[in-house]
């Protein structure tokens, strides 16, 4: 039995982000991106659009396959996307998500 990396089943969702506010910790709108280098890119793009969205990499130490890891977590319901929890893969995807 090999145990490999996967996003934990902690119920990541807009509701969980909002629950943090009860502890005086507003996470705002978070969007997960594939890797560290994407954080800079997306932060700039959101600023241009005057959007207050935090771009957050999936792994701070790098070697994880961000795209595959996030997609399987969404598919298996370990991450529930919503108005305060987004995921950007390509520009078209984020445009659709922000509009919802």
């Amino acid at each position: 039995m090999n145990i490999t990396e996967s996003i934990p089943d902690f119920g990541f969702s807009t509701e969980l982000n909002e629950a943090h506010e009860a502890f005086e910790q507003s996470l705002g709108i978070i969007t997960y991106v594939e890797g560290y280098e994407d954080v800079r890119f997306w932060t700039k793009e959101f600023k241009k659009l005057n959007l207050e969205i935090t771009a957050q990499e999936i792994s701070a130490t790098g070697s994880a396959n961000g795209k595959g890891t996030i997609l399987s977590a969404i598919k298996e319901g370990r991450i529930a996307l919503g108005k305060k929890l987004l995921f950007v893969l390509i520009v078209i995807t984020i445009t659709c998500l922000i509009k919802t």
Partner: protein
Amino acid sequence: MHLSQIEIINLWDKEKITLSFKNRVTFLTGINGSGKSTLLNIIYDTLDIHGKKVLPATSKNRFWSAEAQFENNATIQTAILPEISEQKSITEEISRLHQQKISFHNFESLKEIEKFYQKDEENKEIHHINYSGDIKGQLKIQTLNPQFERKHSNNPLAFLFQEDRETLHNIEKSNIDFSLNYWQLYRNSIDNRFAYLRNIIQILESQNNTIAKDLMLENQDMESIKESDKYKDWQNKATAFNHAITRLNTYFLNSGKEISRDHENKLTLKFIDKEEEISWHLLSRGEKTLIYLFFVVFLYKDKVEVFLFDEPEISLHVKWQHNLIKDLSELAPDNQFIIATHSPSLVQNGWLGNCLDVSNA
């Protein structure tokens, strides 16, 4: 020297469980009872390479073997079997197998060894599933491959923090006065460790101050002092120490407190706008835990390779959890961290891709 993989044989009746550590920071997740703490204990026991001194295993399980593989191809194999003093034949038999260089890191071999125990005492089967709370001895068989450089001759390669377990610090050798009423009436599980840490930090600071004094007494000009290795060493230690305090103070800012020293020159907190320190006994469990975690990382980063933390988030506010692992791992940039957790707040800030879900192990 980072641990890249641990392979465990014959745990929970599974032939083999393999955990790969691709990142410097790894989280073990999974529902209660899925085995996160057991895995941390087995990793610790495997990396505990005390020379002649054999300490009790932190794992309650027996009949397992684990192989730790490091990035430089060094390996350590450790097997933990029960020891039953009245059954010398078993000990002799196992010793004979060890001398014959029979591998204990093999499912079939371990199953055969289990039979020795059942054969000699037919009515008393000893196995992890029958663990009844009786004190179970241990036979530890350990093999280090030639690539393994034993630079930590008398220290385990890992540091283990389990809040609900007895501390692994050598408290008996400290000068803590346990006769005070506080220890009888109000002691909680972090207090022993916290008091121990305060002592050690005080000693460390005092040693560093002595080095600084010696340097000044050497009657050299400041420029030559600054060039000396002794000064550079002192400066590095002082900078690292101050960095730890600066980071810690960011956590206490919200409650208007900061790190200070009490009348014994030991660590505690004080209100920023007041002169008087708060007695360490009055600090909250979360405050003690946070200070403890920061300073054990600071103290042990050069002594061990891996930090094993079992639910370090217990008693910490979600705000404090958010940056905790980032801060701790930055304090020890060359060390590896393996952390068991139930907390989304601990992993949400950049660690989602660093989690191993052990539920299906």
